[in-house]
Every structure is written in structure tokens, then in C-alpha cells.
């Protein structure tokens, strides 16, 4: 707690002094009468001024919440002395907001607890600490100000709001465990694949009686088995384009969280590689716990400036399982991530690149030279995109406001019409 004098405490004694000296100099008691209340007010005010005895407790109604939803911060305040005007400022980190007035003033009776309910809107994903309250109390005459902060810190995790995806990207190859994806190969399953002549060992229930009757020899149905897939979300954290509260990293985190949620719902195994100044990874696993792990890891994702050259060799081998679908979320601004993605394709991974468009965050410039540089930059990015496409890598440009579903459909369309190149 700190104690500070207000402007009044400097001005009033000066006025009292001037009045008393003036009274002596001019021999007028009226000036002393004018000065006396100021001197008395300061004397009494200073003698009576006592620091408040405040105790605060803070509780959050939940520790995790989705973006654009609310949490409630409940404050419990108790004071050992009566406080007429208690100014409270709930410290709200960037990314959170409250619609209530902040700071505000309340009276606080002595030894009587008062509860305050502060609704807080989770404006942006991230991990926050809430509960710190800055308070200020003036003494009865407004001469001294007591300030302090109290309240225990409570951790709040705000998860990125997910996008709705009706259909997911299907990997070219599935894994061996059962799941919801229809495998390309034939085996035991539900999805009809083809007909073939009966061979020894075929089960009678597989016999297609209509085809058998037509051909005179037994024929059986073949099916595609339902298998799970391995999906690796490759989040580029080398560089981002940002303007104000939004940037390409935000888009990437939202997309990654959406993909993780939907693939894990389909019983697939999902892993995460956060490739940047700091390398973070989660090996592919399935289940709800993995979803929490991924989202918690995404909350820690940040752009850290690094000049160290990094390539795929720094990523642990198990993080990129064979036959996995790698969904890269990258603004393609850093040469290291661009090269690494090409390297991934070169190693035969089934790769899809969702380019987090940096264009909404970049101005074309005002001078002719700036505009020329901007156009050249765009041409260079177009060339890079063509390079990926020529290698059979579907690449789509995603910007804020466009549904992720549309991007997924674009990738699906590319894969329908493009030949997969084995390099």
C-alpha cells in the first residue's frame, strides 16, 4: 500500500500560511479568520487520516471458456473501517473486456462483507491471470490518498472458438486401426467397393446372390474397411502479419483448434507441431485428453524472433508418423517454413497447405516504389503457390471472414482433379 498527498494538502497549508502572515502584516484579524479553517481542516484531516484495512478475495466461476463468451469474477471485499468512497479498478488484461464501468466507486461499511460481480467477456483466446484489483481510498477531507492492490490471481484459459466443418479432409492413406474414414484398400467393411469371383475362405454372407444368379458361378461383394487416420497440424510460428488485435497466428490457432476438434471426434489421431522460434510438438494420439493438450499447447503459441536456421531434422521422428496427413497452417512469410513444407512433400507426406493470408494486414503503400514492391511481393507469392501446386500440394489462401469449410472444399476439389506426384 502506498500513501500520497493530494494537491489539496499542498495548497491548503500554503493558503493558511499566506492568510496568517497577511493578517499579521496588515493587522487584520479577518485574514486570520479566513486562513484558520484551512489550517484547521488540514490539521484535523491529517490527524484523522487512517489507512483502510481491506481484505479481498476473488473467484472465477470457471477456469476455461470459449472466445466471445463470458466468465464472472466474483469479488468479496471486507474492510476493518468504514470507507465512504472505495475506488476499484479490476485489472483486466488485453484480450479480455468488461461491459461494466471500470474503475468504479462503492461505499464499504466496516466489518461487513460486500460481494461484487464483474462479468468479463473473453474477447481473444489465450491464458490470462485475473483477480488483481487496484484500489484507492481518500481520507474524509480528501487530503491523502491510499492506494494498493490485492486479490488472489486466478488463471483463465480462453479457448479459440471453433469453425463448423461438415466434411473433413480425407488423407490419401489410412492407418490400421478402426475409425470413421473409408480406406482406399479393400477388406472387411460396410462401404461397397467391387465384385469378384468367390474364392476359398470367403464368407457366405458376402455372396452377392443377384450377380451369382446372373453369372452362374458364385460372386462376392468386396468392401472398403473403416479406418482411422493420423493427422498432424503443422503451425508455422516463425513469422506473422498482424494489425491491431488480429493476425495470421490467430487465424492459424483457430483453424488448428477446429481441425483438432473435428478429427478427434472422428476417432482419428491428431498431433501438433508448432514450428518456429521455439519448437513445440505433440505426438499423434486420439481422445478428449488429446484435444485439451492440443488446445493448451495452441494457447502458448507465439511468435518468437529467431535467426537460427531450422528444418525438419529438428522435429522428432515420431511426431510425423508415416502415411499421416499434414495440414500446414502458415502465412508463408518465412523461408524456413516454406522450405520445410517443400521438404515434407519431398519426403512423401500427404500435405495440404492452408495459407493464412497476410494481405489484409499489409497496405499496398503510398509511393510508386512501395506499390511496385507490393506487386512484386504478391507475384512472388503467386509463384510460390504455383510451385506447391506443381508438386501436387493443395494450397488455399484463407483470410478472416471466410468459412474454413470453404477452404476444406477447395482442397478437396484440388485433390479430386490433381494428380498426386510421387517425388
Amino acid at each position: 500500500m502506498t500513501r500520497a498527498a493530494t494537491a489539496k494538502l499542498r495548497v491548503y497549508p500554503a493558503l493558511a500560511g499566506l492568510g496568517l502572515i497577511g493578517a499579521l502584516a496588515l493587522g487584520r484579524p479577518e485574514l486570520a479568520a479566513l486562513a484558520a479553517p484551512f489550517a484547521l481542516l488540514v490539521g484535523i484531516g491529517v490527524l484523522l487520516a487512517q489507512p483502510p484495512e481491506l481484505r479481498m478475495d476473488a473467484e472465477l466461476d470457471r477456469e476455461r471458456q470459449l472466445e466471445d463468451r463470458h466468465v464472472a469474477l466474483d469479488l468479496e471485499l471486507v474492510s476493518g473501517k468504514r470507507v465512504d468512497r472505495l475506488e476499484l479498478l479490476v485489472r483486466i488484461p488485453d484480450g479480455l473486456a468488461t461491459d461494466e464501468p471500470n474503475p468504479r466507486v462503492i461505499p464499504l461499511p466496516a466489518h461487513t462483507g460486500q460481494s461484487l460481480h464483474v462479468p468479463i467477456r473473453c474477447a481473444h483466446w489465450g491464458t490470462y491471470e485475473l483477480g488483481e484489483v487496484l484500489w484507492r481510498v481518500r481520507d474524509s477531507f480528501g487530503l491523502l490518498v491510499f492506494e494498493g492492490s490485492s486479490g488472489p490471481r486466478r488463471r483463465l484459459k480462453v479457448y479459440p472458438s471453433g469453425e463448423t466443418l461438415e466434411r473433413l479432409l480425407q488423407p490419401l492413406e489410412t492407418q490400421v486401426f478402426s475409425g470413421n474414414q473409408v480406406a482406399r484398400h479393400r477388406g472387411e467393411g460396410i462401404e461397397f467397393a467391387d465384385l469378384r469371383p468367390f474364392t476359398t475362405g470367403d464368407r457366405v454372407r458376402r455372396v452377392n446372390w443377384r450377380a451369382t444368379a446372373r453369372r452362374g458361378v458364385p460372386w462376392v461383394n468386396e468392401a472398403h474397411p473403416e479406418r482411422n487416420t493420423d493427422v498432424v497440424l503443422f503451425l508455422d510460428t516463425f513469422a506473422e502479419a498482424r494489425r491491431g488485435d488480429t493476425g495470421t497466428l490467430d487465424l492459424g490457432v483457430r483453424a488448428a483448434a477446429s481441425f483438432a476438434t473435428h478429427y478427434l471426434k472422428e476417432k482419428d489421431r491428431v498431433g501438433l507441431v508448432s514450428f518456429g522460434g521455439i519448437l513445440n510438438w505433440l505426438t499423434a494420439t486420439s481422445g478428449t485428453m488429446q484435444l485439451y493438450r492440443i488446445v493448451d499447447s495452441l494457447l502458448d503459441a507465439e511468435i518468437l524472433l529467431s535467426y537460427a536456421w531450422k528444418d525438419l531434422d529438428v522435429i522428432p521422428t515420431r511426431t510425423l508418423p508415416p502415411r499421416a496427413l499434414v495440414i500446414a497452417l502458415s502465412p508463408l512469410l518465412d523461408e524456413r517454413s516454406v522450405r520445410s513444407l517443400l521438404d515434407l512433400r519431398g519426403r512423401g507426406f500427404d500435405l495440404a497447405v492452408i495459407e493464412l493470408s497476410p494481405f489484409p494486414f499489409v497496405d499496398a503503400g503510398e509511393t510508386e516504389a512501395e506499390r511496385l514492391a507490393y506487386r512484386l511481393w504478391r507475384l512472388r507469392r503467386d509463384a510460390l503457390r504455383s510451385r506447391y501446386a506443381s508438386l501436387g500440394v493443395p494450397i488455399v489462401e484463407w483470410s478472416e471472414g471466410v468459412p474454413l469449410e470453404a477452404m476444406v472444399e477447395e482442397v478437396r476439389a484440388f485433390r479430386r482433379h490433381a494428380r498426386v506426384v510421387r517425388v
Binding site: V11, A33, I106, G142
Partner: protein
């Protein structure tokens, strides 16, 4: 003339939200009162307690005006309480000023000894207040 200047400086202080400028405005306002007595030379002004109360009220209102605006939450009576407090302080100032005048009138003709006591009391008061302020503010 001085009154107009005082009002101007006070207005400047309010506009600039500066306590120091407000202090100068109040000092000029008090100075105008002193000049008035020096010019008129009357024996004793019976309206001094009213002026003292009003003077303190002006000072309190001026400093209230430059406080940070913080919206009150749920207690609408905070404003009324503050007004009542101001009225009390102002009335108290009038009473104190009246008492000082009564004491001054009762002391009669004065003299060197009484004047010396007055000087010592004035210096002592200012010194005491200054010490209290210094001890409290640090």
C-alpha cells in the same frame, strides 16, 4: 480587477486540471479580500464568517472538479453524502472564522506582547501544519 484575475486563474486551473494553478487562483481571491480591507480600513467585517465559509466551499468544489471521474456503481447516495460533507465543512469554516473574530474582538487594543504572541502563534501554526503534512505525505 483582482477578483476577475482570480476567476480567470481558477478557470484556467479547472481547464488544465491543475491543483497548483487552482492554489494560485484561491490565493489571488484571498488577496483581493486583503486589498479590500487595506483600502477601506474598516474596524471589523461582520460578514467574514460567511466569506470564509464560501471561500472554503469554492476551494473544495474546485478540487472536487479536478478529481478523476469514476462512475459510482450501485450507491446513488454517494453524491448526496459528498454534498452534505461539503456543506458541513463550509459551515464549520464559518463557525471557526466567527470564533477567530470573536477572540480578536475580545482581545481589545493589543500591544507588542500580544502581537508577538500572534506572530509566534502564526509561525507555530504554519510550522505545525507543515510538519504534519511532511510526516504524512512521506
Amino acid at each position: 480587477m483582482l477578483g476577475g484575475l482570480a476567476v480567470l486563474v481558477l478557470a484556467l486551473g479547472l481547464a488544465a486540471r491543475s491543483g497548483a494553478v487552482l492554489g494560485w487562483g484561491l490565493a489571488i481571491l484571498g488577496g483581493e479580500y486583503a486589498v479590500l480591507f487595506a483600502a477601506q480600513g474598516r474596524a471589523l467585517d461582520e460578514l467574514t464568517p460567511v466569506y470564509a465559509g464560501a471561500f472554503l466551499l469554492v476551494a473544495e468544489l474546485a478540487f472536487w472538479s479536478i478529481e478523476r471521474r469514476v462512475p459510482a456503481w450501485s450507491d446513488p447516495c454517494l453524491f448526496e453524502r459528498r454534498l452534505a460533507h461539503l456543506a458541513g465543512v463550509s459551515a464549520g469554516a464559518a463557525v471557526v472564522a466567527g470564533l477567530v473574530l470573536v477572540v480578536a474582538a475580545a482581545s481589545g487594543g493589543g500591544g507588542v506582547a500580544l502581537e508577538a504572541i500572534g506572530v509566534a502563534a502564526a509561525i507555530g501554526t504554519v510550522a505545525l501544519v507543515a510538519v504534519l503534512v511532511r510526516r504524512t505525505a512521506t
